[in-house]
Structure formats: C-alpha cells, structure tokens
C-alpha cells in the first residue's frame, strides 16, 4: 500500500540522483554559498535538537532516539547514519515563528505618538532534515499565518526558507503520521528531498529536487544518476517505516465524535493527570497561540510591543472581562484536543495534527492523544451498544 504512493515511482518527477556520504558536505557548502544559514539536527547535551550546522560532523552521526509517552533517550546506532534519529525535541516552529518577536516600538514626544515597525533583515535559513510530518506542519502554519490575515513577520522569514527534506526510513515509538496522512515520505513543498541509504560501507543519499531553487543547488553537487535498485531500496525502507508506526489514531468521523462528547467522563480522567504545564502546546509544530506584551519605559516616553508564545493551557489565554472562560483543567484539555483534531478542520480545512507524536513524548506524565481519542471512541461505542 505504502510502496505504491512513493514519489520514486511517480511520473513527472525529476529524476533521482545519488549523493555519496563523502560528498555530503558539498550540499552544506552549496547552501552556504547561496547565502543560506544551514540549520539541522545537532547533538547537544546528549539530546538531538535543531541548531546551526557548519558541516556534516555537526549532525548526530550514529545516534538514534527512543520515544514513548513522557520518555526520550538518545542511544547509539549500529551504523554512521546522519539522519538515523526520529524527531528532535524542538521543531522548526522556533525558526519560522520565533518564541519572542518584537512587533513594533512606539515613541511619545510633544503630545504626539509615533509607531516604528520592527525592521530586521530576516535570516535566510536552509532547514536540513525536515521530516514529512514537519513539512506538513509548516504547511499548516502557512495556512494560519498567510491566510486571511497574513502575518508579515512570519512571511518575511518563511519566503526566504530553503527546505531540505529527509524521508523517514524508521518510525519512532510515538509516531503516527500514517494515520494523519502526512508521512513518512515527503510528497511536495520541499526544495530538495533525500533518502538515506546505508548498506555496509556503502553510504549514500538518493536526492531529488522539488523546485527550481532546489535544482540550482543540485546542479552544483557531485552526483551520479540513480539506478532502479536505489529507488526500490528507498521505497522499501519508507514502506517499512510506514508499517512500524509506534502509535495510530483513528480519524474516522473525528469531528462528530468530539462534538458529540463534550461531557464524556474521559475528559475528567485526563484532566486529573494533566499537569497544565503547556508542554504539549509548546512542542507541537502547529500550535500557534501567542500573547502580546507591552513593555513601556519607566517614564512612559516609549514602549515596545512583543509577541511571545502562549498556550491555551494558561488561564490568561481565555481571560475576558470578568475572568477566564476556561477555568478548569478539563475545559482547557478538551479545548486543546478538540481544536487540534476537529475544529481546526472547520477553521483551516485540515487537521491541526500531523502525527509527529511530540505531545506524547514530551508530556512529563505521558498523556497520549491517540489513547484519549480511542478511549472516547470505545467508551462511546459501549454506551451506544447498551
């Protein structure tokens, strides 16, 4: 099933080429020469996170990561894979929608009031190692930030970004991209896409461009044409990843399911475990809630307006005149999950969940969105049966 949806067999795609592992640094140099700051997975303090990279030696060579509810560990692999991990703890969101952004500054003098927009030359970022679920998340944030009310701050960064996708050839313990239809293979939206192939000492990347800019970079690399067995190997690995998802989420009729069960006892059960810490929303690559902070000078002559990541788990987030409208933990968890999986579809035309599993891994008490949906579904079915 999964092999047939592979782009490697699809007509109209640019031909795949092969980049040897020993030539991988040519890709990073080519991007740097094009004026991009390469950002990719790095190993820091024993954890894989995204950060600036100068060469392939900065990548988490020979490392992989274990994911489960509230559990993450980095361990050694048996090989020297560059992209042999599943997902870092942070996401590309921090680069496209930074945690803190100066929106504008204001000055007061002689009874008048002037506003200066925050002008900052946005960086040109090359994101290296973007997974299929993450590219789907970027596409979701694109709809949020560039739709009806385009956000100039997001746009200025986003339109300069170069994306190097990497197909997943293994699945993590909390992955469920197959359920959400977002992976494990990138389908479009990338400038370049790689599949890492390792057979003994033979370490290569199947590489293909998705845009003219990608083709430009590709033309500068020392490549050899791919042979059919390279493509079938890649297809096979991606299909294996698809078959080994750590989690699954049944999305059938999910809007109706959640809309019809606002008082389901499961919401109380999950609220009793939920720490209200907001980690799920912070690590979620699509959560976009923010708050604004005004920082006036002590004498009141000037003020800066900042935008900062916020969360629907904070009380102030639903504060309107008189108090917070979602004052209970139950109301806040229900709001988050129902928005993510159901009302998001009404609002933006797609689910807000890409199946990356970060909210499961990084919840300190391991609350699992896939299990919560299943519990509501099963218990509802048992109610209906009676």
């Amino acid at each position: 099933m999964t092999a047939t949806r592979s782009v490697y067999g699809r007509e109209g795609m640019t031909a795949a080429s092969v980049l040897d592992r020993h030539d991988f640094d040519h890709l990073i140099s080519a991007l740097t020469e094009e004026g991009y700051q390469p950002i990719g997975p790095i190993l820091e303090g024993g954890r894989i996170i995204y950060g600036p990279i100068g060469s392939s030696s900065d990548l988490p060579i020979g490392k992989t990561d274990l994911h489960d509810g509230g559990l993450y560990r980095v361990i050694d692999r048996q090989d020297y894979a560059l992209f042999g991990y599943n997902l870092p703890s942070d996401s590309w969101k921090q680069y496209l929608f930074p945690p803190r952004t100066l929106l504008w500054s204001a000055n007061r003098s002689n009874g008048s009031f002037t506003v200066q927009p925050a002008i900052e030359e946005p960086p040109r970022l090359a994101l290296i190692g973007v997974r299929a679920c993450e590219l789907a998340a970027i596409a979701i944030q694109d709809r949020v930030f560039t739709g009806t009310h385009p956000d100039p701050h997001y746009l200025s960064i986003r339109e300069r970004v170069f994306i190097v996708g990497v197909n997943c050839v293994q699945a993590g313990g909390t992955c469920f991209c197959v359920s959400m239809g977002t992976g494990p293979e990138l389908s479009d939206g990338y400038d370049l896409v790689l599949t890492e192939l390792i057979e003994g000492d033979d370490h290569r990347f199947l590489i293909r461009s998705g845009t003219a800019a990608g083709g430009e970079v590709l033309s500068r690399l020392p490549l050899v044409p791919a042979v059919p067995s390279d493509c079938s190997n890649a297809e096979g690995l991606i299909a294996t990843a698809a078959d080994h998802m750590g989690r699954s989420l049944d999305t059938d009729g999910i809007q109706q399911l959640l809309y019809e069960n606002p008082e389901h006892p499961r919401w109380d059960a999950v609220a009793s475990r939920c720490l209200q810490c907001a980690n799920c929303t912070m690590v979620c690559p699509t959560c976009f809630c923010s708050t604004t902070e005004d920082r006036p000078s002590l004498d009141g002559s000037s003020a800066d307006r900042w935008r900062t990541w916020d969360s629907c788990f904070s009380l102030d987030y639903s504060y309107i005149h008189g108090g917070a409208i979602r004052s209970s933990a139950k109301a806040r968890y229900r709001q988050w999950m129902t928005h993510k999986l159901a009302t998001w579809i009404d609002q933006f035309g797609t689910s807000g969940c890409v199946g990356c599993g970060r909210c499961i891994t990084w919840c300190p008490v391991g609350i699992d969105i896939t299990r919560e949906v299943q519990a509501i579904r099963t218990e509802e079915a048992s109610h209906a049966h009676r």
Binding site: P99, R100, L275, S297, W309
Partner: protein, 258 residues
C-alpha cells in the same frame, strides 16, 4: 508634581529580594527619577515619613512585634506589594510550621527566655490585605521592574501565572524530566526565573512557588514513578515555598500517607 514615595520594608528575610532592586543597575537611575525612595534599608538609613504610595514588603511574619508592625505599614501604604517567597508564602523559615519552635529555641539560644517568637512563619497576606504578590526566591529583577512600571502607569502588572515549562521551551531547553528522568518541579512552578536550573540540566526547585493551576497530585505520582521516595518528595515541596497552599497540601498528604 512630586514623585510617588516608595518604601521597602523588611520582615523575616535574607534581604535578597530587596537587593534585586539595587541589582537593577541599568534601570536604577530611571527608577530613582520616577519615584522618591522613602525607605530602603539595604541602600540608606534615612527613612522619610509616610504615607507611602507604594510599599514593597519583604519577609514573613515570625514575631508578635512584626505582626503589629505590618499593620502600621499597611495603614501608611496606598499600594502594598509583597516580594519574594518569604513575604508571599512564609519562606524557608516556614519549616518551623511543622516543628516544635520551643525545642529549636532551646537548642539554639543560651537564654531562650529572651526569645519572643511565634510558632509559625506566615505570609504577609495572612495578616493584612495585599494588593499584589510577586513570588520568587529571590524575585526576578525584571519582574520587580515590571511591577514598579505597572504601578507608575496605573496598570495591572504583566506577571504570568503559568508554569516554568513555557520558559524552558521558549529558550529551547530540552525537558530534563522526559529526556533524563530528572525530577523537576517546573510543571507545577510559576514562571519568572527564566527556567534557570533546567538550562543547567537540573530539575526545578520550585523557587517561584505554585503555578496558577498546579496539579500536584499528578506530579507527585510522576516523581514516585521516577523512584523518588516520600521523604525526598516532602523535602522538595518544603524548600522555598513549603507553606504556599498547593505545595503545603501536597506535602501534608504525603506525610499522612506514610
């Protein structure tokens, strides 16, 4: 128009919180230009007479004398803001609330008869009406400046009540609890420190007290799964903000279940 008078009052405390004001070196001149400092024990011996438009109160109430003195401070203050774990929750010295104070006094002082102290260390808000509470051990100087700024402009201080986890994620710190199994009070502790300890691979010590909707029951269960024993858990909850209601209830429940 004369500048509003600011007074800093000290009760049972280490002075660390009022030092945060002196620590605001870059902003101190601007503060001094906007307010008249009428009482500030760490900076000057001069005390100007009241009334005071803004009083910052540091420290907890531990003696009968202080229990009276705070009433006078309240009477002379238009706005009264408590700063720090001692003033907002009783501080480290609230450990006495679970112990025999007379026994301590006998052990420490040569002539215990001269010691006139209360059995408890309690927050200022347990004695007088408080207009705003700024937690932390010590408080954050940025948050203190925000409180003074808000007072000067007649607005509500922007001091978020959410957890330290938001600060960890915003600064890009990987969760120490999930990635290393390190017990951390961050998920139940109010933000404000900038998530200092997790950035150095340590769990949060809860210096800023309980977050707005802290779920202690769930965190205690998780720490237990990380093999933290009950005495350690109780000690963690009774460090800087042990007598803050959410932490207090959790540690007392643990003690009762022993």
């Amino acid at each position: 128009m004369t500048n509003p008078k600011l007074a800093v009052w000290k009760f049972a405390s280490c002075d660390g919180c009022q030092l945060s004001l002196l620590d605001a070196e870059d902003e101190l001149l601007a503060v001094a230009a906007a307010i008249e400092i009428a009482n500030f024990p760490e900076a000057s011996r001069e005390v100007l007479p009241g009334p005071y438009q803004l009083s910052l109160v540091e420290g907890s109430i531990t003696t009968p004398h202080d229990a009276e003195r705070i009433q006078q401070v309240r009477d002379e203050s238009e706005f009264l803001i408590t700063i720090g774990a001692c003033a907002t929750a009783g501080g480290i010295q609230a450990l006495r609330n679970w112990s025999d104070v007379a026994e301590f006094t006998r052990a420490v002082y040569a002539t215990p008869a001269f010691i006139d102290t209360l059995d408890t260390s309690t927050a200022i808000a347990d004695h007088v009406t408080v207009d705003f509470e700024l937690p932390g051990c010590p408080i954050s100087k940025q948050q203190l400046l925000e409180v003074i700024n808000a007072f000067l402009h007649g607005r509500r201080p922007d001091i978020p009540g959410y957890s330290v986890c938001l600060e960890c994620k915003r600064r890009g710190t990987t969760c120490v609890m999930v990635a290393a199994g390190t017990p951390c009070l961050g998920p139940v502790t109010q933000a404000g420190c900038g998530a200092l300890c997790p950035a150095y691979d340590r769990g949060c010590y809860g210096c800023f007290g309980p977050a707005e909707s802290a779920n202690l029951e769930s965190l205690v269960a998780e720490w237990s799964r990380l093999d933290v024993d009950k005495p350690t858990l109780i000690r963690a909850l009774r460090t800087y903000n042990g007598y803050a209601p959410a932490f207090r209830v959790a540690s007392e429940q643990l003690e009762d279940s022993r």
